[in-house]
Symmetry: C2
Subunit: 255 residues, 2 copies
Amino acid sequence: MRRIMLTVAYDGSDYHGWQTEPTGITVEEVLNRALSALLKEEVRVSGASRTDAGVHARGNLCVFDTEAPIPPEKIAPALLGRLPDDIVVRASREVPAGFHPRRCDSVKTYEYTIYRDELPDPLVRRTSWFLYRPLDVEAMRRAAAFLIGEHDFQSFCAAGAQVQTTVRRITAVTVAEDGPFLRIRVSGTGFLYNMVRILTGTLVQVGLGQKRPEDIPLILVSKDRAQAGPTAPPQGLCLMKIDLYPSGFPAELLT
Amino acid sequence: MRRIMLTVAYDGSDYHGWQTEPTGITVEEVLNRALSALLKEEVRVSGASRTDAGVHARGNLCVFDTEAPIPPEKIAPALLGRLPDDIVVRASREVPAGFHPRRCDSVKTYEYTIYRDELPDPLVRRTSWFLYRPLDVEAMRRAAAFLIGEHDFQSFCAAGAQVQTTVRRITAVTVAEDGPFLRIRVSGTGFLYNMVRILTGTLVQVGLGQKRPEDIPLILVSKDRAQAGPTAPPQGLCLMKIDLYPSGFPAELLT
């Protein structure tokens, strides 16, 4: 029995998330079916990040166990013809027995894409949030800087989420302009439910002048979801990568 | 009775082209239905470019006549809620009676997007052609330069097309790298059926070393479709804009 880890990219537009809805097709289900057919045994993947309905990924991870004799690195190319074209397994490799990315120290990097124009562009509607009002990008950058470091992010967590602690560490935030696109890239050692989308909704309020950059620390200490901005829509969000640190975080990441 | 011109953007993935198939939904049909409902009269648009199934547009044009008293520039925003989100009318304005973009001198600009990587990216699959073999971009640029000017493009026209002449003028071609993307942008005073896709397929053969840049002039003079490369798939192609010259081409464009 060997444990295999997959790097998975998907267009989440037509899925009910990685593993959320009991009704509606999920990315996990489609992977299970394709892997079971390929390996001729019942396969059940376990994902690193359970992305929401409509959210995309370029580098989600999952693991599964198999007794099939296929070389691990051949699994990704062999799946190409067996998966719908909105899911691509970009890499496959063997990992130690019992290894799980959710049990490793890790840094996840998300990118949220905003499309700024007078009218929407149908060619980017599935992968961005359309906003027609001008945004003060410099103010958004000043606001974003307040998020870096270890904070209690309870204000930026969807109500009802069950977690032991709402303290998380954000290691980097950038707000980059790329023509009509604005890309908010957030890396952190952990994220609460809807946290990146609520951070984005709050930064957009700053960009619109509805909040000041200096409000961010006040929102953090309030520990009140109502003080933060709205949850940005799912289609702008993409899980870009998960960096794993099986022997623990390097010191420079935590300072 | 007034004549209105619309600038139309669409994701062509789910359409049987602008106006091609007797079976299957077309962009034109959806526009006719939305405009008829908005203006409360039977509307029939007439397009500048009949893009193929799966081909996209950021700036196709069409005209129609109406007796409705709505201010012309209000038509585009009023259509936003009445069209599916894969079609966006980006501008609407009144033009002289009888005016038609197809009867004007015009320069059309197309962009063909290639995505280069080892494995496909599901997030760009609807808007690019995935190629995993490395391309010699410099050779493609040298090949593209041979296309500029007035030539008989019969070798680059899909067989069976009925046209009076296959002479066309290409005013500009660029091959630009943008990370994993390669964007071939072609402007010209007219295009034959499938011409940009066959040009792209031929430039890709040059990029793969299957043809030399110096073969392009030989392919042009052969007037033989079989000498050119394959037709690139539709989803990489986007009609970016149509510049109209109602009083004729400026001299500098034709030299």
